[in-house]
């Protein structure tokens, strides 16, 4: 396992493509700091994982770097104020997501003073690692390479990670994107300081910095910055997708991370170069994650890299780059291989935005109509995962999902190399995305059905048991009444009255006990659901780049989602009713639970309130969170429906051709 690197040795992966780089345009000018926009819109969901919990309210004045929303659950990331100003709204707004649907955002109106909150670095070398990682939860730092996976999750909390090698991903293999390149050219020393922190936290003995050979200035700067350390810069050939974490690890170490394992399980951890810089700023200076470098390129007058505050409107960035040329049709977030069309030009810049490309028909010609697959297997030659894309296409097209899974569909990283080389111009990746979402939806449905069956069986058993218990109680009571009547007629009467009332409200001690059991069961269910959710996310997210993970989170077919949405609405209504019944008691934070679980919980709550048990304390934000979750579920379902329709459309158009 202790792989040692002999300098200069590169372990090639299968395939890969070398598209025109188009990086020179945006590297002519140094990184510029973007001016303050009129307002900042901060989506709560800028990372992979749970929506963070909002800690401010409309009207609050906040300072630069102040916590606006804190990480909720294990996989989540905090949001901070990128500048000082006033919170003007906490509401839905359009976010940079392929679905084009709105999500919860905090709107901040800058006061122009840019006043920092009191902040300072910490002596991380002499601080307990657990404390460091816990404090990292407050940093808002996520993977800035585009995957946006919360960084504190990647740094094992126990500080004994078993990681021997830290790989710094500075390959930046996608065309057009140059933010990491410029960052290394200009801030190599700070990057190396950040690497030292990551190395310290992981206890890694070896540090390898992988950079593609098309960035000579960055390579030189990094080599200079690491001069007096044991770190190594490894120059890798320019070949897309060498920046994919698994591909890069293979290039540098010759090690294939098993498909079902994370890098850390084989003693390797991969961090993007911008992420480690964020670590440096957080630990050495105390600055949370409030900005990033964004390449603004493509069809703009002056392509350039900017340091952009999160929440900055896209058009503010476009204007700073000299404005979009007249024939610009839309904007792409990410690179031309894995990026996506932004739904509107007024979306905010988020943590995932490494590059914005102004697109025109000149730059990206619309693809010609697809021809049939001629089985030339160029896609297989280009696939960096050694898949058989032509077979996967065939299976996806014929809805033969089981076969697609057998042929390792889920190992596909959606890099697009197959589509790039396809002579028939088949949108292969879209077929894979479609098949993946269909399979995931089917799996979820099956899981839900299993869960429902289990719960129903448990419920029937409980009803049976309660019936028996009640019968026994009746018998006992009858016995007691008999003896009491003999003792004291007066008290006996009272007792009878009391027992009558209590029977009506079902509040006998035994029943209260039952309710408690139900509550405990519900709590366990919730925990299970949450765990399920988070593990699923972990699995899908670590392995895949950002676009892949957002896609894979689409979780139900349109029809089912509609039903689920209705069920959720009913659940919400019930919960609200229950809340109204007992004011001051808000429903639980059930954001992570599935809709069916939510409904169940709502019912339990209602039952408990009837017995007069106060539900466990909950944050007032929970209600908003739940609504957000439901809205998000609907949004996801809609997006999925759109995707399915589009895939169908693509298929029909192909058939026609």
């Amino acid at each position: 396992m202790n792989a040692l690197v002999s300098l200069g040795k590169i372990f090639k992966f299968n395939g890969g493509v070398h598209p025109p780089e188009n990086k020179a345009q945006s590297t002519q000018l140094p990184i510029a700091k973007l001016s303050l926009p009129a307002s900042l819109v901060l989506p709560l969901r800028q990372h992979v994982g749970n929506i963070p919990k909002v800690k401010v309210s409309v009207g609050d004045h906040v300072l630069k770097g102040q916590l606006l929303a804190e990480a909720e659950g294990m996989v989540s990331a905090a949001i901070h104020a990128p500048t000082s100003g006033t919170i003007t709204a906490i509401a839905e707004a359009i976010i940079p997501h392929p679905s084009g649907l709105p999500d919860h955002c905090i709107t901040l109106q800058p006061d122009g003073l840019d006043t920092w909150i009191d902040h300072h670095g910490i002596d991380w070398r002499n601080t307990d690692k657990r404390t460091l990682v816990n404090s990292l939860r407050l940093s808002g730092i996520v993977g800035l390479g585009g995957a946006t996976f919360p960084t504190h999750v990647k740094l094992n909390a126990d500080g004994r990670s078993g990681v021997h090698t830290l790989v710094i991903n500075a390959a930046e293999c996608e065309p057009y994107i140059t933010c990491d390149d410029m960052l290394m050219r200009e801030r190599a020393t700070e990057i190396v300081q950040g690497i030292a922190i990551a190395q310290h936290l992981l206890g890694a003995t070896q540090v390898l910095i992988g950079i593609e050979d098309n960035k000579p200035e960055a390579i030189a700067a990094m080599q200079q910055a690491i001069a007096n350390s044991t770190m190594q810069v490894v120059v890798v050939p320019t070949l897309y997708p060498s920046g994919d974490a698994r591909r890069l690890v293979h290039l540098l170490l010759g090690e294939e991370i098993p498909y079902n394992k994370r890098a850390t399980e084989v003693g390797i951890q991969v961090f993007n170069v911008a992420t480690v810089l964020a670590l440096h700023r957080f630990f050495d200076i105390g600055e949370p994650s409030i900005s990033r470098i964004v390449s603004m390129t493509g069809n703009v007058s002056q392509p350039r890299n900017f340091e952009v505050l999160f929440g900055t409107p896209l058009m503010h960035l476009v204007d700073a780059a000299g404005g979009a040329k007249p024939d610009t049709t839309h904007f792409i977030m990410g690179g031309p291989m894995m990026g996506f069309n932004l739904p509107e030009a007024n979306v905010p810049i988020t943590k995932a935005a490494n590059c914005i490309i102004a697109a025109s028909p000149n730059l990206f010609a619309p693809p010609p109509p697809a021809m049939p697959c001629i089985r030339c297997a160029r896609c297989a030659d280009a696939c960096p995962v050694s898949l058989q894309p032509q077979e996967l296409y065939w299976f996806a097209k014929s809805d033969n999902f089981e076969k697609a899974r057998d042929y390792k569909l889920f190992d596909c990283i959606e890099c697009g190399a197959c589509s790039y080389v396809c002579p028939s111009d088949i949108p292969l990746v879209q077929y894979y995305r479609y098949a993946k979402s269909e399979i995931i939806a089917a799996d979820k449905a099956k899981e839900a059905a299993d869960l429902a069956r289990e719960r129903n069986e448990a419920r029937l058993a409980r009803i049976e048991r309660e019936k028996l218990e009640r019968a026994q109680k009746h018998a006992e009571r009858a016995q007691a009444a008999k003896t009491d009547a003999n003792k004291d007629l007066n008290t006996g009467n009272q007792q009878a009255v009391r027992s009558e009332t209590s029977e009506a409200t079902q509040a006998t001690p035994a029943d209260a006990n039952d309710a408690k059991k139900v509550a405990i069961a519900a709590a366990i269910e919730r925990a299970k659901a949450q765990k399920l959710n988070s593990t699923a996310e972990l699995k899908s997210d670590v392995a895949k780049p950002a676009q892949a993970s957002t896609e894979s989170q689409t979780d139900a077919s349109a029809d089912e989602a509609k039903k689920a949405a209705i069920a959720a609405a009913i659940a919400r209504a019930k919960a609200q009713k229950a809340a109204a019944l007992q004011s001051g008691v808000a429903p639980k934070n059930v954001e992570a639970a599935s809709t069916s679980v939510q409904q169940e919980i709502a019912e339990i709550d209602a039952r408990r309130q009837a017995v007069g048990i106060t539900p466990v304390e909950q944050p007032p934000q929970a209600q908003a969170d739940k609504q957000a979750a439901i809205a998000a579920a609907i949004a996801r379902a809609k997006a999925q429906k759109a995707a399915a329709e589009a895939a169908k459309a693509a298929e029909t158009s192909e058939k026609k051709d």
């Binding site: 992966f13 299968n14 493509v17 598209p19 025109p20 392929p98 679905s99 065309p175 698994r246 294939e256 098993p258 498909y259 792409i332 031309p336 291989m337 894995m338 990026g339 996506f340 069309n341 697109a359 990206f364 693809p367 010609p368 109509p369 021809m371 049939p372 697959c373 001629i374 089985r375 030339c376 297997a377 297989a380 030659d381 960096p384 995962v385 050694s386 898949l387 058989q388 032509q390 077979e391 042929y407 390792k408 190992d411 697009g416 589509s419 790039y420 080389v421 396809c422 002579p423 028939s424 111009d425 949108p427 990746v429 879209q430 995305r433 676009q547 896609e551 995707a643 026609k656 051709d657």
Partner: protein, 339 residues
């Protein structure tokens, strides 16, 4: 909706097919030089038939005609069939074969990309079985023929079946080297004696060996252009050479040399142009080796023990049947998975 990748860099299907046609041009030129211009007539007839039947079938199948006609795949089928059958045959033979190949072997299976069998080889097999006599009437190389036919005389023969006054069919045709070898071996002749006949050249048959070399050159061009991978031709020629070498080394008097097998019959055409058809062939690298090796072995067995002088068409069709199986069992190891 994610539509990435937004960029692509691939030759279109038309470009790929066009390069295959281009790679056949040297062989056609040598053919004309060795056998006269008659082949150009057959090629033209085949091309027209292919385009017409393809258009007709697309129309009947309610598919757009223009994009599929301009992918040149039908033209390739036509050319390969025309080059595979004897050039001095009545016009209707090539028309029938081409039409069958396009209609039955290609369009009825769903057109481009869906045919399990190599259409040209299906057309060839149908003609060989239906018209065995015509299919073995190969013209002699011009330098060998008693009375070499001019282009107009070949034209006349193809369309009317008329030979010039006083010329008999045997004067313009001859057995192919493979055919001659087979019949003479049955007469218990020694290989060395058989191959001293004027029919034989240095590598294979006189005249036809140059065509074979031209196929080889065209094939190398396709390899250089990354239209075909090395796997198929190398495995086919390698296994054919190995197999024939084994027999030849054991008994040189009764088995022809590997060089003869490589440069005779349809070996070179098969290695670079027939088995390299991506649609009806396997897609995995290992599968390509098995497929081509299988074609080579069957071809050799038919040549030596079968009822026909050459066996490429049947070997290819048989191996086409095996393609799904080959593909299933030769899946490459996926990144991060155990074997």
């Amino acid at each position: 909706m994610i539509r990435s990748p937004y960029i692509s860099d691939a030759p279109s299907v038309s470009t790929i097919m066009g390069k295959v046609l281009l790679a056949l041009v040297p062989a056609i030129a040598v053919y004309v030089w060795m056998y006269g211009g008659g082949i150009l007539i057959t090629l033209t007839l085949a091309t027209l038939t292919a385009l017409l039947t393809e258009a007709l079938m697309l129309q009947l199948r309610d598919r757009p005609v223009k994009p599929f006609l301009s992918d040149y795949s039908a033209v390739i089928t036509a050319w390969l069939l025309a080059l595979a059958i004897p050039p001095l045959t009545p016009w209707w033979l090539i028309v029938l074969g081409t039409a069958f190949a396009i209609i039955f072997a290609k369009q009825l299976y769903g057109g481009l990309g869906y045919n399990p069998f190599n259409p040209a080889m299906v057309g060839y097999a149908v003609l060989l079985i239906s018209f065995p006599v015509l299919m073995t009437k190969w013209p002699a190389a011009l330098q060998l023929a008693q009375t070499p036919l001019s282009f107009s005389e070949q034209w006349q023969f193809i369309f009317s079946g008329q030979l010039p006054q006083g010329v008999l069919i045997d004067a313009v045709t001859s057995a192919t080297p493979l055919d001659y070898l087979k019949t003479q071996l049955k007469l218990e002749q020694d290989i060395s004696v058989i191959q001293s006949a004027p029919l034989f050249g240095t590598l294979g048959g006189k005249g036809s060996e140059y065509v074979a070399v031209a196929y080889l050159l065209g094939g190398l061009y396709l390899w250089q252009q990354k239209i075909i991978s090395w796997h198929l031709p190398t495995a086919f020629l390698g296994v054919l050479a190995l197999f024939s070498a084994a027999f030849w080394l054991a008994d040189a008097a009764h088995y022809a040399s590997p060089v003869f097998h490589l440069f005779s019959g349809a070996s070179m055409l098969c290695a670079f142009f027939i088995i390299t058809d991506p649609v009806s062939g396997p897609t995995t690298p290992r599968g390509k080796l098995y497929f081509a090796g299988g074609v080579a072995i069957i071809t050799y067995l038919i040549r030596v023990y079968g009822g026909y002088p050459d066996g490429v068409a049947f070997a290819v069709i048989f191996m086409n049947i095996c393609v799904p199986l080959i593909d299933i069992y030769t899946q490459p190891r996926v990144f991060g998975h155990e074997k």
